[in-house]
Symmetry: C2
Subunit: 335 residues, 2 copies
Amino acid sequence: MGKNVKLKDIARELNLSKTTVSFVLSGIGDEKGISKATQAKILDYSQAINYRPNQLAQSLTSGITNTIGLIVPSIGDAFYAKLVKEIEKEAEKRGYVILISSSERDSRREMNLIYTMRAKQVDGLVIAPTDNCKKEVEKLLEDNFPFVLVDRICLELDTNYVIIDDEESSYKLVRNLIDKGRRKIAFLTTDTKGSAILNRAKGYHRALEDTGTKLDRSLVKEVPRENYSAYTGDILRELFENHPDIDGFFFAAHYLASETMLYMYKNGMDISSFGLATIHDNPVVEALAPNMSVAKIPLDVMAGKAVNILWTNMKKKGVNEMSGTVIPAKIVIKD
Amino acid sequence: MGKNVKLKDIARELNLSKTTVSFVLSGIGDEKGISKATQAKILDYSQAINYRPNQLAQSLTSGITNTIGLIVPSIGDAFYAKLVKEIEKEAEKRGYVILISSSERDSRREMNLIYTMRAKQVDGLVIAPTDNCKKEVEKLLEDNFPFVLVDRICLELDTNYVIIDDEESSYKLVRNLIDKGRRKIAFLTTDTKGSAILNRAKGYHRALEDTGTKLDRSLVKEVPRENYSAYTGDILRELFENHPDIDGFFFAAHYLASETMLYMYKNGMDISSFGLATIHDNPVVEALAPNMSVAKIPLDVMAGKAVNILWTNMKKKGVNEMSGTVIPAKIVIKD
DNA sequence: CCAACTTACTAAACCGGTTAACTAAATATA
DNA sequence: TATATTTAGTTAACCGGTTTAGTAAGTTGG
């Protein structure tokens, strides 16, 4: 790589001072009273040698890196990949670039990532937090560092966040199944204890209560989040054995829905005979279960709001007023 | 945010010089002859006030940011999301963090991204290049900047790269279909002209030639990459109308395979009656077409090799010997 | 008892930019 | 003609670390 040209080199070459060159290249040449002739000379030469300012040096003085840190549970997951894409898009609009990492749902890792990113002086953080996020997020609050949580929140803490109305959406979906005459609705959820999952369970419970349907705990199954694919088969088999008359399913997550659809498809079951509903879907669900009602998480809206909140927080360096935003999921009822 | 503690603050507080503090915190206290007592004092105090060195400043002097730039066509795409995940994993092993951006298959954007990332002083770049990558990649070569291409290469340029054996894999897949007695094998590809796509077409052609099968141009369909989903239906309809006796398909990309499977499934066609093969698959293909042969792209291997090549390139700052690696896709034949 | 050597640090330059404060020369004003 | 103002720059400090070269005080050897 070698000889990257610096401001000093340009200055020496043109018999000018670093200051003059810096003024011109920063676009404040007129303002600083640099003659048109000199400006042209500087611009031409910089162009010719393909000068590229070192942003590290610039950031060191300005205190701004134009970089946002983004931490998600797993970038390999199609859902988070879409979220990342939208956040990248929004960030780019405002001139930010994204430093990304996966927490792998491990709060220790999450803490380290936050540390690393802050060391790299990111201007702000967007985090889809782990279940045990309290400690590291608390530190961000203490330091009054700009950040916003997305998709899930950190219980007990007053932070910026953008999430969907998990409980309400779940309520509506389950309520709809019951209203359509379904009586034995199984609930597949995960063993994680994040805010989103907990609220989805609440929605399920409330819909049962409101309709006077008795909660049958044996219809509620917690699939281990790690390696869920390996467990779903056995869990479903057991479920169908104990309850051959199940007539509906509510899924707390898209991957549980698709796993179940695959199971039914492979076992020759009639998917269309069930009342089905899920929080967010995926291509497999769309393909196999046109009759699945869905609460679609509007990732573009979520990303837009999140980056916006973060942006205002980064601008006013003063006190942070926390802004919690709950956006409605897009409910699509199918029959 | 406010009062980030600096080296100077620690030095003042402990009545020591910046130098001493820096030595100790860099772990070279012994080497530099700083007394144990002083070292302990510095370490304790830094810990207590939660000192966090500013990596911008460190990088400015060292010339190293421990950051890798990663540019993919689209991070929202499940395939690239997986690739990103693997690259992140490999990078992390070596202490690197990832700056990510999507080129959106636009070489202008790609050029700007490369510029931005170099301005931010990334130590190296991993790029899944656009079809028109020549200009920007040439500049990287000129500047002897460390980078490696993945998934696709830049035609006519001698660079580092890691790709799969597109032609050979395609050949094997198509050859297998023919050997199993398929005679009218349609080829669905895209209108893009990247290296991967071109080589997959070559494989298809060569398999036909070697088996004395006549190439029927009307069996080859280029689906527009942008908004492919909107076009596939019409293209397939036309294909089946003109060739009711099609008995096989070879897909140049997983999304073409899944779109076609969805079409067949929705139209009640018997998927199992066709001979099917694709380069890489996805969950929908797996679900609907257990009889589809696949050349799986080993993203973990690809990422591992790529980061490794990049890493050695970043270490030896000298001349770059370009290392092109072609890894075999994992061929899975199904019936 | 003085030179030589250790020990335990420090001053200042540097990385590559930005910026506040200053100046020399040219022109305008009184 | 002497002074004020404008024009077109420059000097040097700074951002927050690292690093080279150096030094003061204490210890050892002859």
